[in-house]
């Protein structure tokens, strides 16, 4: 192999390694991106009513109120969000301890408001 050919080969390998590293990094970023769970809020329920998460896993709850002002609150999960009608609210959550948690609507929305809750199971 001539010197030029060796240089071209080295450049190609370097390029491939770089591209490979970039691809790996992109894949890692994709893997790191939190899982998104869509949640809808309407009087007097959240949908879904229950979600299951892994301990230490970061998830993005994308919560949308379909009707009136709602709240999204859990003391142990440190969540306290306001859900304006028609707007999407992003809540990042990384539960550290296994267990069952309840997220409630804490903005009074009518007679059955007290029943509006989302159960979070952390395994």
């Amino acid at each position: 192999m001539t010197r030029i050919a060796r240089s071209r080969a080295a450049l190609t390998i370097s390029l491939l390694l770089t591209l490979g590293a970039a691809a790996t990094r992109t894949r890692l970023l994709a893997d790191d991106a939190p899982r998104t769970i869509a949640v809808t809020a309407r009087r007097f329920e959240f949908e879904p009513k229950q979600i299951t998460l892994r301990r230490g896993e970061t998830v993005r709850l994308s919560v949308t109120s379909q009707d009136v002002q709602h709240g999204f609150f859990s003391r142990p999960l440190k969540i306290d969000a306001d859900l304006a009608p028609g707007q999407e609210t992003q809540v990042l959550l990384t539960p550290q301890e296994a267990g069952t948690y309840t997220i409630i609507c804490d903005h009074f929305c009518g007679a059955q408001h007290g029943n509006m809750k989302l159960t979070v199971t952390v395994e």
Binding site: Q69, G71, F73, S74, R75, D80, D82, Y101, T102, I104, D106, H107, F108, C109, G110, A111, H113, G114, K117
Partner: protein
């Protein structure tokens, strides 16, 4: 030289559960050493010697509710009015700690429910009735209908040396008091010495009783921080439809039963659902029972709680009425 009455307890609020509410008796401890002298001192300073009185707390009448857990409608409320009117000595004050009415999507219907409450409560023959809203009264309209029917949602007044503070933790929709009311509270309290006996009445608990049942107030810790320098603080609230006593710092928090339905014990593992109505014992969960010290109904649970109010002596002791009249601080 310290005054000989330093930190002696001489005022007492005794709370007797009446089943339909709670009766509080505020009385100087006549038997306490030095009490007579303290009363004389307050009398001279105030122009009015402290005198015993009693008041009643009612809560969560939910007028207009058609819940299966409350098929009797306002029957318990009406009985409570009759029982209070029959009390001797007659209470001087009735405090209603929220959810006077059940909410309605129809504002006219909700206003009718407010009028129905006023009609029934209007049968009380006590001199004063004071109310705070619950979320079912004020959570949907920011308290507009409540204010039309009952006046402001937060305020303060004084009665026989006790400073009463009505706090609204419902009309912002969320369980909060809010920065404006907190600011007002700080200004209101600044008029009083730390020995002033204070009774706060509100709807939701001001501490984390059971946040996942919405039994809390988000900024309740700020309210209690404002009250923390005061030595004699009693907080009366409703919302949880059952009795509860919680002591923290200088404050003791008392929840009253509902006049519509009961919620279960939150530590029992039961879900947050009304205790089912039992037609064989229509008032069982509301506990229509009358307890009087020294003359308890046979078989009734005593349920008497006593809140000792300590009035710390100060060299420049002046009574509550004096502060109110002159704005002086000792």
């Amino acid at each position: 030289m310290d005054h000989p009455l330093d930190r002696r307890r001489f005022l007492r609020i005794a709370s007797a559960s009446l089943g339909f509410g709670a009766l509080y008796r505020v009385a100087p401890l006549a038997a306490a050493p030095g009490a007579a002298r303290t009363l004389d001192l307050l009398g001279k300073k105030n122009g009015e010697r402290p005198a015993p009185f009693s008041f009643v707390q009612l809560s969560d009448t939910h007028v207009g509710s058609e819940s299966p857990a409350n098929p009797q409608g306002t029957r318990a409320f009406e009985q409570a009015v009759a029982r209070i009117n029959a009390l001797a000595p007659k209470p001087e004050l009735v405090l209603v700690t929220g959810d006077l009415t059940h909410d309605s999507e129809n504002a006219a219907e909700h206003a009718d429910r407010m009028r129905a409450f006023r009609r029934i409560a209007g049968g009380l023959t006590v001199p004063m009735v004071r109310c705070v809203p619950g979320e079912h009264d004020a959570g949907l309209d920011g308290g507009s209908l409540f204010r039309d029917a009952f006046g402001e949602t937060s305020y303060a007044f004084d009665h026989r040396g006790i400073h009463f503070i009505a706090l609204d933790n419902v009309s912002r929709g969320k369980p909060v008091v809010g920065p404006e009311q907190l600011s007002w509270l700080h200004k209101d309290l600044a008029r009083f010495p730390t020995t002033a006996p204070i009774v706060v009445f509100t709807h939701r608990p001001l501490f984390d009783l059971r946040p996942d049942w919405e039994w809390f107030t988000g900024d309740g810790d700020q309210v209690m921080a404002a009250l923390s320098p005061y030595e004699n603080v009693t907080v009366l609230y409703g919302h949880i439809h059952r009795e509860d006593v919680h002591a923290e710092g200088n404050a003791t928090h008392y929840a009253a039963r509902s006049l519509a339905w009961a919620f279960p014990d939150p530590t029992s593992g039961a879900p947050k659902k009304p205790v089912p109505f039992d037609p064989k014992s229509p008032f069982a969960n509301l506990g229509l029972r009358l307890v009087r010290e020294g003359n308890r109904t046979a078989g009734a649970r005593p349920g008497v709680e006593e809140i000792e109010l300590r009035l710390a002596e100060q060299n420049n002791l002046v009574g509550m009425q004096q502060f109110l009249k002159t704005g002086e601080t000792p």
